[in-house]
Symmetry: C2
Subunit: 287 residues, 2 copies
């Protein structure tokens, strides 16, 4: 089967060709500008590829309710050009193949469960900490949807006692994303993250927020594996800081060997590296 995959992001659309084994044969990157411009290039890329199916993991919010008149649309995004853009509909105009569609982070969680760090598990959580904080999850073998889709990056967290930064989420100010996404780190400390490498207080505070969120995800979803990636996690010292703080917060309450004794193997980096989203988009076709 030849699968066309799209990881539709706010800054770029990564497009690629692969198969049902999760093998990516080729990939290209197209800048996210206006729907007209971007989709033109997307369609041109896939046109002669003789696709059997397509899978799309998209930035959100998106409408995933198949009974809705705006199914397949990006909905109320701050990227105004894309507000209520019918992404799946536009693809259907050009490709008469089955199209799988979900959020970028749900796709990545699926990809990691099929071929990555959570391979073989029916439950995992995928978190990306970059220009925003996005989280997808597979629970009991299913990607979570409901009223809408999860927006776990925007949960309320307890503020760090030394943190006087206001937060920069346009909706919530100091929610998790407002306090701990890459741009918040930069604005709070006045420098880009990679220039703060030698400032332990920066990563201590960052881990404080991420660990709170992860502890809450554990308590609410009980995932069998937690995968954390994204640009901010290139500061790899964060992994052990976060693991330690998650253990502290949970205080031994959740009785699981993975948490108590093997947390290094429980909170991990993506097994698929930067391909989690694209491979996961391919995986959406298999559902």
């Amino acid at each position: 089967m030849i699968i066309g995959a799209i990881e539709a992001g706010g800054t770029k659309f990564v497009c690629g060709i692969g198969n049902e084994e999760g093998v990516i044969v080729e990939r290209i990157s197209i800048p996210t500008t206006t729907p007209d411009e971007t989709m033109n290039q997307v369609v041109t890329y896939f046109k002669d590829k003789q696709l059997d199916a397509m899978g799309v993991g998209s930035f959100g919010p998106v409408d995933l309710d198949e009974s809705s008149s705006t199914y397949g649309h990006i909905t109320s995004t701050p990227k105004t050009h894309w507000n209520y853009f019918d992404l799946v509909g536009e693809l259907r105009k050009h490709f008469s193949v089955p199209i799988g569609f979900d959020t970028d982070v749900n796709a990545a969680a699926l990809g990691e469960s099929l071929w990555g760090a959570a391979k073989g598990l029916d439950s995992c959580l995928y978190m990306t900490v970059g220009t925003g904080i996005g989280v997808g999850a597979l629970v009991e073998g299913k990607l979570i949807h409901g009223l809408t889709h999860p927006e776990m990056g925007h949960i309320v967290v307890r503020r760090h006692g030394d943190d006087h930064y206001a937060g920069r989420c346009p909706y919530h100010g100091d929610c998790l994303e407002g306090l701990a996404a890459g741009p918040a780190v930069e604005e709070r400390w006045g420098k880009k993250g990679h220039l703060l490498e030698d400032s332990p207080e920066v990563w201590e505070m960052e881990a404080y927020y991420l660990a709170q969120a992860i502890a809450n995800y554990v308590l609410i979803l009980s995932p069998k594996k937690i995968i954390v990636g994204g640009g901010v996690m290139k500061q790899t010292q964060l992994y052990s800081l976060v693991r330690d703080k998650v253990k502290d917060i949970l205080g031994g309450y959740v009785q699981s060997d993975q948490l108590l004794d093997r947390i290094d193997d429980y909170i991990v980096a993506p097994g698929l590296g930067d391909n989690a989203g694209l491979a996961g988009a391919m995986g959406l076709v298999l559902r």
Copy 2:
């Protein structure tokens, strides 16, 4: 079908007989003392009832992993008599019928989705605020399990600025349960909840904590209905306080009519009243 149902709680075991329509024909209550004493009465009650199946919703933590050697056990509970008690095993000694088993709150969520306030929905959350805070959830038609089972009552919440109470969770101090369960309200204000009815600051603070938790559940699970019950919610003024604060916290970010325009019908009291747990235990048989 004659179903024997048990809602196994820390203070009492509610036992009853019903059918696959969720009709409860009779119910009795047995105090939770030692496993010997309590289980003796439970077995005696059900002995001649000619059961076709049993369903058990239990206080936790419990082991729900069918491949585990301690499946069906209550695990590391502070109620020491019941520590690692093999609840399902004990029932199997006396009744050779299929036995469904899950947490009390997962059972209640299931009951509400089959016959209560979330009837017909494949997604809902059931929260009880009483001597503890317990939460169960149905997502994509399935009760959530994973690494263990959710323990959503113990999430981290942001502290209220006027709250100097330390919290009373033996594991976490000031987690949600430590700050907002019934005994915390009583200890903080020095009086039982029903004597504080005319002190608006009490319920304002209580709603502040419950609303944070519910907002986080919405962002993480996106349930299609949120059902809140338990002793503390007998202060029914809490419902509108909580709804208003959930809306405030979410700040219009989650685009859903239920949240934006019909939150009175989204955050609701249990449709099954105090029978949610017992009916839900019956429902476990049907899975």
